[in-house]
Structure formats: structure tokens, C-alpha cells
Amino acid sequence: MKESAQLALPLRVDAEVRENRAEGGSNFRLRLAVAGWPGAEPGRFVMLSPGARGAALRFDPLLPRPMAVYRTLGVAAPPEIEVLYKVAGRGTRLLAETHAGDRVRVVGPLGVPFAMPVAGRRALLVGGGTGIASLYELAARAAQRGPVVVMLGARSEAELMGCDDFAALGVELRIATEDGSRGHRGRVTELLEAALDAGAGGEAIYACGPTPMMRRAAEIAALRGRSCQVSLENRMACGFGVCLGCAVPRADGSIALVCRDGPVFEAGQVAWAGLP
């Protein structure tokens, strides 16, 4: 994904929590008022320091956590962004404990966004787990250029996130759950396979979710001679290319930084076997 000169520059703001709501399963929705927020292209992310409250300085946990910008709420002043997240460990657990009025440090927007589909072409978006959060803005903008099919997967219905928001976009929504509690019983990549086999060809393919899921999506695309954009995850300390901590191997043997060269990559460029 080439970096475009027009990408919004990152800022560091102590944002104010407007709302932090449990949404079933381990899902939460965080709404932050971010003064000066420049907007974020689809697929870009922020670094959040969870639990930063008032002046009570604590350095454990030390590092911020990367989170996709689910969407920017254009109407609010100061601008507001939403983050959809799952409680995975102590960083996200602390985030879950913030209350309206608390402050959270935001650095962003960061990273290289998805390349938009060619106008008129059908876009297939495949999301699993927390990866769903990276796809909303893409779906919203792609829907203005052509037909969009969004395929979302999770272990069970409760673990799905954002379904209603996607549905409200008017895109075609297909669901897969491993336990069959909603939609197709099985993996979301099976939906992708079916869509491609039934499709007319030429679709732009996007995948974001757990590594095995993205790897499978990439395989499915590659088997059909098709390219696929994926959004990788990795541990990050900075998010803007200076700690060199988020390195992953490229297929050509070189090293890429997920935060600076990604998180969006062409699936064929990724050395899948070398991911952490």
C-alpha cells in the first residue's frame, strides 16, 4: 500500500471519554472526544493509553495499545471517534474500566490505509474478531463507489461486533459463526470462497482478523489468481515507525514495520510463516 501525500498527520491528544459501553461478549465501544482530530482514512489506527486518568501517573502497563479507528463521528465538536474493542488482556481491561469524563491519551491517526476499490467494482470485505473494527470506514466509503459485501465472523453471535452499523450502511451483510449461533455455521473464509466462486470476478478483496483467518483469505484469493489486502496485527510500542518493534518479514526476505509500512499489506507480500 503506498503512502499517499494526502494522509492526515498524526497528533497526540489527551482525549476525553464520552462513553464506554459494554456491547455483549467481551466487546466494548469507546467514544472519545479528540480535539483537532483530522479524520482517518479507512484502515488507519490510533495508539491508546488506557486508564490515563487525571494526574495520577502510573507506569504499569507502560505501553499504549493499537486500536483501529472504527469511525469518526463528523457531526460532533470537538470531533469524536469510536473504537470497538475486545478485552484481551490487562491493557484492554483497563480501557474497559474507564468512565465518561476520564482521559485517554490518543496518538494518531497512524499507518497506511486500505487502497480503495476501483469505482464500480464489487468489494468483498472479510472481518473476524477485532479485525471487524478496521473495516467499517472502508465499507462506508466503498459503498459510495460500488457494491459491497461484508462478511463477518466470530466464534459466536455474542462475540460479533458492529453488525447493526454495517447493516445500516446498506451493504450486503453475511455472517458466519463457528457455533452456528448466527448465520453460516463455520468460518467466515468459507463465505469468501463461496462469494468468489459465485461472483463475476474482478472483486477487490479485503481481510482483517486473526492471522490464520487472513492467511486463509489470502490463499483463497491467490488460488484464484487474485490479490487481497490484509491488515496485520502485531505488538507495538510506538505505532509510528521509531521503535522497530512491530517488524514482520516480507515474502522477499526484507522486513516491514506493521505500523509504518502497514497495517495494510498486499497479502502476497507477507511472509505468513514468519509472523509472530
Partner: protein, 312 residues
């Protein structure tokens, strides 16, 4: 402490021949090559930046995972990924605005290669000084030796000193029995200043996989967790040598930085804090000035070494 508040504070300090507008630099490896921070603030407002350590050839570094979080700290084993000295000079330096003071950091696996990198950097107009990274704990080939053995360290400083007439700082490893001995060695061989400390050698484990959290097994511990150890070493070294010291280790805010100044550091470097707060170095610089103003300290340099050790 100090007198009544003063209205203006002279923040300038001199670090081994490098003139700094204030005593706050950024630590090598935590600030990229500088340009990455340009969106966040004007880099000319801090004392200077120490660039990522560079080698003769570009290096690719370790496989992932390269970083992990620990209580009030982080582990890293980047493996000294860098663009190499030539690209540093031709690509990275020109990307920085004119007013930015740049210290180049040098690392290599053999002494003559260290000297060669220093030679290439000598006379480059944008390079205000060199910092010899004698202390990287996580590269297999030699990293441990340079800063941990007095004889080897002496050879390294001697060779790099010969290779350049630029201001020469030596960055020491904290993984030693006696930091004073290492400090004296550097002073004896003509170093213009010392930077301390680098990361503490450390290890963490994922108990589910029973594997080290880093691909390299060992890594370097940085962040607030190590600050009290770094402070101790700076104080000890400052009593052992007369050359100026740049204090490093877990500095998160102005208060932390002032502790280093009080313990005898002429300047400080902000490291890990840059990751969590890209404005950290600027905030530290501003906070030191405000502290000096509040406490009636007319020159920040007057804070250096003001530790009050109680009589026994």
C-alpha cells in the same frame, strides 16, 4: 531550595563540546532518525537528538517478536536494524531541519569497523557529535564485550578517539559490577563525555508456550522500572570522572530528568517515553525550565550535581 523565582532561565548546557540549547536529548533507538517526530513538534526546541545506532552496512535486525511489556518497563531485542552509515548521511540527515542538533550513534561488531564509521561521520556538517554505543546487550557478536570489559572498552575508545576529532560520547552498559571503573577508562582514553545507561539485560517468559517472549531470548529492559538503577550509576560515575555525563534511563517527565541533573548529569536523554508520548522530550525540556524558574535557579547548569548527601 534555590532562591526566589526568576523570570528568565538560561537553559543552555555544554555536553563534551556539544552546545545544547537545553539539556534534553532523545535516546538512540527511541527517536528513529528524527523526522518521524516532526509532525508532533519542532525538533529545534529540544537540546538535540541522538539518532538510531548505525553500522557500516545496513542491518536487518532480529526476527519478531522484538518487544514485550514488563512491569513499568519494556524489553527489546531489535537487533540493531539500521540503514547503514552512508544512507544515514545522504538520506536521513538532510531530512532534518537546519536548527536540529544531531548526535550520531555508532555501533559495530569489531573495533576497526567502529573506527571506520566514525571516520565517515567526521566532518559531516550536520553531525554535532558521536555517541559510541559500547553497550548493546542483545547482539550476539560482541555487543556484550565492549562495555563490560575494561580492556576492550579502552581499546574501543582509543580507536574511535583516533578516528575522529568530533565530540565523542561513550554510552556505557549498566550490566557491570563497577560503573566507575568503566567511566574512568573512557575518561582516560579521551572521551569527551559519557552517556549512561543503556538497557539492563533481561528476559521474560510466556508460561503457556514456555518460550521467551522475544525471539532473541535476551533483551534490554528500559523504562521507569530501571530509573533508580540508572540514577545510581550516574551519581557514581559523576563522582569518578570530570567529563560531563548524559543521564538516561526511565525518564518520563521533567521530575525524573531533574533527578538526573541533581545526581550530576549535565544533560539527559529521553528514551522509551517517546513511544508512549511523542511529545515527552519537549515536555521534559519545558518542565525543567519551569522548575528552575520556580526555584530561582538562573541557569539550568546550576542544578547539575546539587545532590545533598546527608553527613554520616
Amino acid at each position: 531550595m534555590g532562591g526566589p523565582a526568576v523570570s528568565t532561565v538560561d537553559t543552555r548546557v555544554k555536553l563534551g563540546g556539544i552546545a545544547l540549547r537545553n539539556p534534553v536529548l532523545t535516546a538512540s533507538g527511541t527517536f528513529g532518525y528524527g523526522a518521524e517526530f516532526a509532525p508532533f513538534f519542532d525538533l529545534a526546541r529540544i537540546g538535540g537528538i541522538v539518532a538510531k545506532s548505525i553500522t557500516l552496512e545496513p542491518r536487518q535486525g532480529n526476527r519478531p517478536p522484538r518487544i514485550a511489556e514488563t512491569p513499568a518497563g519494556m524489553l527489546n531485542a531489535i537487533g540493531l536494524e539500521n540503514v547503514g552509515v552512508d544512507a544515514f548521511i545522504t538520506e536521513k540527515l538532510p531530512a532534518l531541519a537546519a536548527g536540529v542538533v544531531v548526535v550520531a550513534s555508532v555501533f559495530e561488531t569489531e573495533i576497526d569497523r567502529y573506527a571506520e564509521v566514525c571516520k565517515r561521520l567526521s566532518g559531516v556538517p550536520r553531525v554535532a557529535g558521536l555517541e559510541i554505543n559500547a553497550s548493546c546487550p542483545h547482539v550476539k557478536s560482541g555487543g556484550i564485550e565492549f562495555g563490560q570489559r575494561a580492556e576492550v572498552l579502552a581499546q574501543l575508545v582509543r580507536a574511535t578517539r583516533r578516528a575522529t576529532s568530533a565530540p565523542l560520547l561513550v554510552k556505557l552498559s549498566p550490566n557491570v559490577t563497577d560503573i566507575r571503573e568503566m567511566a574512568r577508562v573512557c575518561e582516560g582514553e579521551g572521551a569527551d563525555g559519557l552517556s549512561l545507561v543503556n538497557t539492563l539485560q533481561a528476559l521474560d517468559i510466556d508460561i503457556e508456550t514456555r518460550r521467551p517472549v522475544l525471539s532473541n531470548v535476551l533483551g534490554g529492559l528500559s523504562g521507569p522500572a530501571i530509573r533508580p538503577v540508572a540514577l545510581r550509576m550516574v551519581w557514581q560515575a559523576s563522582q569518578a570522572v570530570r567529563i560531563p555525563i548524559c543521564g538516561i534511563g526511565g525518564i518520563m517527565n521533567a521530575e525524573d530528568a531533574i533527578k538526573f541533573l541533581i545526581c550530576g548529569a549535565t544533560a539527559v536523554q529521553v528514551g522509551t517515553a517517546n513511544y508512549l508520548n511523542p511529545l515527552a522530550a519537549l515536555e521534559v525540556a519545558e518542565g525543567i525550565e519551569a522548575h528552575a524558574r520556580r526555584h530561582g535557579v538562573a541557569r539550568v547548569a546550576d542544578l547539575v550535581g546539587t545532590i545533598e548527601v546527608p553527613a554520616r
